[in-house]
């Protein structure tokens, strides 16, 4: 049953082929058996999951079940879950239990989804390989010596290895799309403001956005429909109705205008990855789309801009982790300064500390204008590039990541090489646009992701474009070998 889509599971649950409790047990069993080899989960919540499954079974029996009732999912451990540890992949929050649910968690629970547990992630979502987690790296199910990508690596690997039906992720610079690409699954980062950030531990507030990670666009559409929507608790959430993402999935792509940014196909892109992307684009042409080349002239600046803006915000967002009220506190502090310094030095890993220091630096008096202010200006230029592009095309396609998954341990000592993993994904976060990654033809047995970028609040079109490809190809359907 773990290979079935949400729609198929729905039919089975409703027809009584098996119960949600049985389905949940099945997944919990798989996690117990297989997760030690992958390390996808930081916390498995077996008892609450079974209780939720029982409630789901009652709803199914009552005829009050919705599309997600009884479907086992996992949450990235960045979303606060009431009564269940939320670690954010950090020693700092190793013992933290939130007294509230994140809006995304609350909405999926209200829709009847069953939470199996909390997935591993780069510490505070800072990383592209899941190696910065306090709980150890996640392994890529397609090849356990490779990284799953990050920061939502645990969610991506769990979905790929069928250790949950679908999962939530967050994306600040590519953290849904890049691991989705590297693990061969479907992930969508919605428009900034589409999903509430309430209860989602902040990395870079102006860039962070929650989204679903699933095995197909149809499954992702079901999750996103439940997750999205205005939330008065998040001032940056947008009060725009959530369309029925499923209704438009099958729309024809005839006449669809696809733009291929010249800058996304140049130096740095692996030749084999490029070939896979081209193959998918030809498939779109067969489906009736018209392809043209476009320019995003400022996109080469997106990585440097991101590594000013995101650290700046993180240096402030992470200031609350001071050892005073909750979280890690050092033993026997001598005085207040000692308490701060040691609690934070012990509680945060190297990458988090690096970004806090970069952020503190770029906001400092005398540097603010040269870094932060300038980065904000370039951010506008990057958004303008997309605005011009969407005057000519409906969607933008390109690679999600320049390479397939790389071996664990190879980029940890070279932050810049690591940062360049997100060279194609970061610009959409800076512009606030929705972006998606779907699997295309693998290279040497490792998945490749095609990125689909859309205009603001055009998630429906992205899902449609993804779904149509998944109707005519089966790149998304093949599971990684060895996890039965």
């Amino acid at each position: 049953m773990h290979d079935r889509t949400i729609a198929e599971l729905r039919k089975d649950l409703d027809s009584g082929a098996y119960s949600s409790v049985e389905l949940t047990r099945h997944f919990l069993g798989r996690i117990e058996r297989l997760d030690p080899g992958l390390n996808c989960y930081i916390t498995v919540a077996a008892e609450p999951a079974l209780a939720a499954a029982q409630r789901a079974d009652r709803a199914i029996a009552d005829g009050t079940a919705g599309p997600l009732t009884g479907i086992p999912i996992a949450h990235k451990d960045i979303f606060c879950t009431q009564g269940l540890r939320t670690s954010c992949g950090s020693r700092m929050l190793d013992t933290f239990i939130a007294p509230y649910d994140a809006t995304v968690v609350e909405r999926l629970a209200a829709a009847g989804a069953v939470m199996l547990g909390k997935t591993n992630m780069d510490e505070f979502a800072m990383g592209s390989s899941n190696e910065t987690s306090f709980y150890g790296p996640v392994r890529n199910p397609w090849n356990p010596t490779r990284v799953p990508g990050g920061s939502s690596g645990g969610s991506a690997a769990a979905v790929a290895a069928r250790l949950c039906v679908a999962a939530t992720g967050t994306d600040t610079g590519g953290s849904i799309r890049q691991p989705a690409a590297l693990c061969g699954i479907t992930g969508i980062k919605p428009t900034y403001g589409r999903c509430s950030r309430w209860g989602m531990i902040a990395f870079a507030s102006s860039l962070d956005q929650a989204g679903p990670m699933a095995r197909s666009a149809a499954d992702a559409a079901l999750l996103l429909r439940a997750m999205a929507g205005f939330d008065p608790r998040d001032s940056t959430s947008v009060d725009t109705p959530v369309p029925d993402y499923l209704a438009g999935l099958d729309a024809s792509l005839s006449g669809l205008r696809i733009g291929l940014p010249k800058e996304y196909f140049g130096e740095g892109l692996d030749n084999d990855v490029a070939t896979s992307i081209q193959e998918a684009i030809r498939e779109y042409e067969r489906l009736g789309a018209r392809v043209s080349e476009i320019n995003l002239p400022n996109s080469p600046l997106s990585v440097p801009v991101y590594y000013v803006v995101a650290p700046a915000e993180c240096s402030s967002n992470l200031a609350r982790f001071d050892g005073v009220r909750y979280g890690h506190r050092c033993e026997n502090p001598k005085d207040l300064d000692d308490l701060y310094k040691r609690s934070r030095a012990e509680g945060f890993g190297a990458e988090v500390q690096r970004r806090i220091m970069i952020g503190t630096y770029v906001l400092s008096a005398g540097y603010y204008d040269a870094y932060y202010l300038k980065a904000q200006k370039i951010r506008h230029l990057i958004a303008d590039d997309f605005r011009h592009a969407f005057e000519q095309v409906d969607v933008i396609l390109g690679p999600t990541s320049p390479t397939t998954a790389f071996p664990i341990g190879t980029k940890m000592d070279d932050p810049v090489a690591m940062y360049l993993n997100d060279i194609y994904t970061i610009a959409t976060n800076l512009a606030g646009l929705p972006g998606m990654s779907i699997p295309v033809a693998p290279v040497d047995g490792m998945p490749v992701g095609l990125q689909i970028i859309g205009n603001y609040f055009d998630e429906g079109r992205l899902l449609n474009v993804a779904h149509r490809l998944q109707q005519t190809t089966d790149w998304h359907a093949s599971p990684p070998p060895g996890w039965d």
């Binding site: 994140a102 309430w198 001032s235 700046a312 200031a319």
Partner: protein, 477 residues
């Protein structure tokens, strides 16, 4: 050398909202520690601020009241620093784009002239919590009830030239925020706190001297004394050939001196940047119109009107506009009696003294305007004398009914019947031949003795004018 003092004030006034500026926790004063701090105030992971609309409305009212521009677009910024009572590690404030721009406030100087003090800006921000260093041995207690309380920080230009002027300005701001209902101004509870920037320079010099900032002063008396001390200290330093160091100081009322605060805090670089959790605040003309539609007549214009309309002295008009409740009280009495001067005398005299003795505000006065008006009417129509009126006032204060009932019950009606006064006078003249002789010999002072006797015998009820006239006539004979 002649020195000139230069003072600017930063006033933090707590806005009178039910809940905090970015959370739904209540702002009530005096609750047990940490019982009024929700997840947002505690800075738990994943929480987000949502702006309290009422705080915005109150700030806009202040902006209009000082004739300042209310910004169409203002921006919340994070002021980053570490302190245990600052849960997020930053304070949400406004930095480059405050909600209220330049305005002015007029103060009345001791010589009766008016002086305009510039207000540079006023911005919204959240308060921090409280560190309690005394009660915990070897530890510091943190109470986050105050954290997130809405404040309006009102920043003046360095326009004040003496401690007295600073106090006059601070009092004026205090009067105004209460007048327009944006703050209770309670200084004991920390709803109105002042920081003074003080410097001195040789008279005639146009550039400013190095300033120090005296933080967190919570009374007008301390404000005056703190500035006075600081001015003298700076002059002493400069005249001794030293230099004033730019620093933050605290005023110690017990020793009546200012002392430097730990300088470490000063070394802070606050790394301000726009808060990405909050959108820029946009305010249009329609919103301003609605927020200020019920703004009352402001103190300055009320003062001028009381002076012009009722013929009161500038001084009385200023006193009566000390608070909106007092001014409204006066006007009610004046309107009801048609005797504004008498009304002003009673409100500022007998009533103010009684309120002061009882330690209560005018709003809680046991005598309402119609009752005081009732008393004044009886003075006016001669039913009672001014002296008897004080007795009636006491009874009014004690809640013994209205003036007429009290006069009746106590038999205080003035004796205006000359048939009743004459026999009294005759008897007194007969009983005091010596004094009569003195008076008739030209010792006018003795006249007072006779008046006193008559009043005494009549228990104060005899009409003084009549007594004077009758006595003069009879003594002449």
């Amino acid at each position: 050398m002649q020195w000139e003092t230069v003072i600017g004030l930063e006033i933090h006034t707590q806005l009178a909202t039910q809940s905090k500026i970015f959370s739904g926790a209540p702002t009530r004063f005096g609750a047990d520690p940490n019982t009024q701090a929700c997840a947002i105030d505690l800075g738990l992971p994943g929480v987000l601020p949502v702006l309290n609309g009422e705080a915005v409305r109150l700030a806009v009212r202040f902006g209009r009241a000082i004739d300042a521009e209310v910004a169409e677009r203002s921006v919340f910024a994070r002021k980053n620093y570490f302190y245990p009572d600052l849960p997020k590690g930053y304070q949400i404030s406004q930095y480059e784009h405050p909600i209220v721009g330049e305005g002015q406030i007029e103060i009345l100087l001791e010589d009766g002239t008016l002086k305009e003090i510039g207000v540079t800006r006023a911005h919204l921000e959240e308060d921090a919590g409280k560190s309690l260093h005394e009660d915990f041995h070897g530890f510091t207690g943190i109470d986050l009830n105050r954290a997130g309380t809405p404040l309006l920080e009102i920043v003046s230009e360095p326009d004040m030239r003496s401690p007295r002027e600073a106090v006059a300005y601070a009092r004026k701001v205090h009067q105004l925020v209460r007048w327009i209902g944006i703050s209770d101004g309670n200084m004991q509870e920390g709803s109105f706190r002042m920081d003074a920037n003080v410097s001195v320079r040789p008279r005639g010099q146009s550039t400013f001297g190095t300033r120090t900032e005296i933080k967190n002063i919570n009374s007008f008396r301390f404000l005056e004394r703190a500035i006075q001390f600081e001015v003298e200290r700076q002059i002493e330093v400069l005249e001794g050939g030293g230099q004033v160091i730019q620093e933050t100081r605290l005023y110690d009322p017990d020793r009546d001196e200012t002392r430097p605060m730990r300088t470490k805090e000063e070394a802070n670089d606050y790394r301000y940047f726009p808060d990405p959790d909050l959108l820029p605040l946009e305010i249009d003309a329609a919103y301003i119109a609605e927020a200020t539609a019920d703004l009352p007549e402001l103190p300055d214009s009320k003062r001028e009107r009381l002076h012009a309309q009722y013929g009161l002295s500038e001084y009385d008009a200023d006193q009566l506009t000390g608070s909106r409740e007092l001014a409204d009280y006066f006007e009610a009495v004046a309107e009801e009696t048609g005797e504004p001067k008498l009304a002003a005398n009673w409100v500022l005299g007998e009533l103010a003294a009684a309120l002061n003795r009882a330690g209560i505000e005018i709003a809680a006065s046991p005598i309402d305007p119609p009752r005081l008006a009732g008393l004044i009417r009886r003075i006016q129509d001669g039913t009672i004398s001014g002296k008897i009126a004080k007795q009636v006032f006491e009874a009014l204060w004690a809640g013994e009914g209205d003036a007429d009932a009290i006069i009746e019950a106590k038999g205080l009606r003035q004796i205006t019947d000359s048939g009743a006064i004459e026999p009294l006078i005759d008897a007194i003249i007969a009983a005091n031949p010596e004094q009569v002789a003195q008076y008739r010999a030209g010792k006018d002072k003795v006249f007072g003795f006779f008046v006193g006797q008559v009043m005494k015998q009549s228990q104060g009820k005899a009409n003084p004018q009549q007594v004077n006239a009758l006595l003069k006539a009879k003594l002449k004979a």
